[in-house]
Symmetry: C2
Subunit: 228 residues, 2 copies
DNA sequence: TCCAACTCCAACGTTTGGGTTGGAAACCAC
DNA sequence: GTGGTTTCCAACCCAAACGTTGGAGTTGGA
């Protein structure tokens, strides 16, 4: 229109994707309309189809993009102890705070329960590196190994992500004593550190639930029985 | 049709709600159609509108119903120690396993981020009782108090719920060593117990188990501040 | 028996929205 | 310029789905 600017495919694509991230994150796959994505980007709807295929392919593209971003933004190379685990948890939490779209896209994807997720291989690799970092730290006795590395890594992400997954629950549960992002972060770090620290041998008491044996025998000191 | 049975409002409503739970849980608010809810229930679409108002009101009704069910199904009265916390986490996990609809509805609600959630007051009360149980256990030195009760309760739910929130992540993260529901449950219980146990003052280098000097298991009372 | 109230449904009106098309404007050789 | 290619868009098609309506079957009371 008013531009002397030439066509700019790359920029058009970028703007469309940016817009799509926002819309999909806000309304999910079902709740988002191609029309609105296009309008928000100030670009014709038809461009979406020629560039990205149909709606679900666009969703997949956009999600894969965001995952690549987070992979780059929150690296995890090595863990030298529980504090490092806590720091990692906090970094994930912070990233989510600044980029709430990612969590939301992931959650929406989870709710779709597709048999195969887009980009599965590279994503699996991505998670594998995380798990490996935990495994190595466990093998080096730098963090506790009483929870398997994959589970531990997964649960750390749970602690960091749950706030954004069910904000309404977070709000209601803290009704009497509102949680600021900071107190939440604090609690998260403490919790992450605890998970990564070897458990003190708590007395097992009465048999609610099964399991929860100490894997590798007792450690060091005496078993200690606490009665109420 | 073939029935001599008279009209039965209550039963009709029940069947519609049952159907609505399934559809909403599976496809979310945006992805569900009133038509399909009605068809699944074998009842005319129009009944939905006269009984429940429009689609979003139906969603709210259904969600509130499910929450009441879970409140009744997974009670939490008192916690007499970390193992009770683990047992509670496992109970929540098991409930979710048997009733995946609830988690999904909650997640979808979270993603909608409505300004006010339906039934807010009674739900807040419900969570308050949970938090109170943790608070009391902390005050009685039965579980660790180094994480505020509300945060602790919330994080326990995170551990139990994350598996269902992002199943695709769970799967990919355990690609090398698939997690069965049982191993997940085991890890969850262990983690929950750890969060509820006073942190052993981890050695500067976070050595694990064997080398743990320092009497373990000193609970609650002592406050230990550690910068992370 | 008649009528008012209630339960249910088939069919309809209308809007929304995914996806397409025909063509205009810009660019790029040659 | 001229033809071919690419970028873009207004307008369109059509299926799906929200919500409604008119009416038919059912009940219960006066």
């Amino acid at each position: 229109m008013l531009s002397g600017m030439a066509w700019n495919t790359a920029e058009t694509k970028r703007r469309l994707k940016e817009s799509a991230v926002a819309e999909f994150a806000a309304h999910g796959l079902g709740g988002t309309t191609m029309e609105r994505i296009a309008r928000r980007a100030g670009i014709n709807k038809e461009r979406l189809y020629t560039y990205f295929g149909d709606k679900s392919r666009l969703f997949a593209t956009v999600l894969a993009d965001e995952l690549n971003k987070v992979a780059a933004a929150v690296p995890l190379d090595s863990l030298d102890g529980p504090e490092a685990v806590a720091a990692y948890a906090a970094a994930v939490y912070d990233y989510h705070a600044e980029h709430p779209e990612l969590t939301r896209l992931l959650l929406w994807e989870g709710l779709l329960d597709l048999p195969e997720v887009p980009d599965e291989d590279s994503r699996t690799d991505y998670y594998r590196t995380k798990v490996t970092a935990f495994t190595r730290a466990q093998q080096a006795n730098l963090i506790s190994d009483d929870i398997p590395a994959a589970d531990l890594a997964f649960l750390i992400l749970a602690l960091a992500g749950w706030w954004y997954a069910v904000p309404q629950m977070a709000r209601m549960m803290h009704a009497d004593d509102p949680a600021t992002p900071d107190t939440a972060r604090e609690a998260l770090m403490r919790a992450a550190a605890k998970l990564a620290t070897s458990a003190s041998p708590w007395s097992r008491r009465g048999g609610r639930g099964r399991g929860l044996r100490d894997r590798d025998g007792e450690q060091g000191g005496g078993e200690q029985d606490d009665e109420i």
